[in-house]
Symmetry: C2
Subunit: 229 residues, 2 copies
């Protein structure tokens, strides 16, 4: 069985990706990053997801980029927006997927893994530039120029199987593979018990996805919050 | 004055790069990574270099990739080689420059810096794939696809002014700019006082560089060690 590194955030997308990587026949090494995100409770969801979906290993690496500031997700002084806005949103974390993929690449090289799975999506997404196919292709090129495995001819593949799927398609894919989305957490601003705010961009995209998939939304919301329309 | 992020390891090359970035007129934000390297004492050298060469700020970010293993620099079970060998050496750290550049990119975006300086060199170097010009160009492309600044048209430049210089040329460049190489530490296996082993690849390249530059080697070696030929 070939090894793969799978970036697992604890959210809906990466849980689906882990299920797909398992279906593809990989021994999956799950990687989560503790980067000072305000929704750190998602890391508990990541551990649950990794175990439930049969990862052979789950690592959470501390990566303190909060001191840089610049994002509502890592800077307590910038509130998480509760309404949509034009352009790249305040929840954008500078270079996040580049940093995550770089760490995953290092681990993949040590493990002898050649496939790196990431839940990037460019359809029902928040408009982050580092979720687009052209970014992922450029990173794959970097991976194969940066590393021993790339130079010696046995290159890496950046696998982003969700990149062109709608949120509803992602959910249906995961349900077909037995993913329990009740284990996952997508919200950017959950309470300490991991209950979703129901207002942020991630909550809106998730709720609409379940509605469009025709599947009940298993999300636990904060008391008094109704799922977003 | 425009801002730049400069990766400063504490070694000879990155000190020279910092001097060049200052000469280019940048306000320099120096970044060092504490990645579990066995030569962590180089971080003290990095702080000295950043101050001496007028960086406006110096940050050291913890980035524990030692748990991955796979390198003589981060895995205590793999000794630092004391003789040259063919191919990519054991001191290669998987994806190190990709990870470092990714973190530098995030910080640069937050700072509004557009230039990222790195002391990569592909002439008198250890054969690391992530020091080659084609890698650096590919990373620059990633930087401009990954980020708000790239998408909105005001892109990043990965500046590697040493990439085609010999070690002697690097040293002469730095001396012309007033770099005190006595502040720097290149050795992969120094003692706790920061005195060089005189045997590793980095010591050999450095010592030969000073000889070829016709300049006295200011390196402090461990007691009883003679500079490598």
């Amino acid at each position: 069985m070939t090894r793969a590194v799978v970036l697992v955030s604890g959210g809906l997308d990466s849980a689906t990706v882990l299920a797909l990587a398992r279906r593809d026949g990989h021994a999956c090494h799950a990687l989560s990053l503790d980067y000072g995100q305000r929704h750190r409770v998602e890391l508990q969801a990541a551990a649950r997801v990794a175990e439930a979906l049969g990862a052979v290993e789950h690592r959470t690496m501390a990566l303190d980029i909060g001191w840089m500031g610049g994002s509502a997700l890592t800077d307590a002084a910038i509130p998480v927006p509760n309404a949509p806005a034009a352009g790249i949103p305040l929840t954008y974390v500078p270079a996040r997927n580049t940093i995550f993929l770089a760490v995953a690449l290092g681990w993949a090289e040590v493990l002898g893994a050649r496939d790196i799975y990431i839940g990037a999506n460019a359809v029902d997404y928040s408009g982050y530039p580092d979720c687009r196919p052209e970014f992922l292709a450029a990173f794959e090129r970097v991976a194969n120029l940066a590393t021993r495995a790339g130079v010696e001819g046995d290159g890496f593949r950046v696998q982003a199987p969700l990149v062109a799927l709608s949120k509803a398609e992602i959910i249906r894919t995961g349900l077909d593979l037995g993913v329990d989305y009740g284990l996952t957490l997508s919200c950017y601003d959950p309470d300490p018990d991991g209950r979703a705010c129901g207002q942020c961009d991630a909550c809106r995209l998730r709720s609409r996805g379940f509605a469009a998939a025709g599947s009940p939304d298993p999300t636990r919301y904060r008391p008094g919050v109704r799922p977003p329309a």
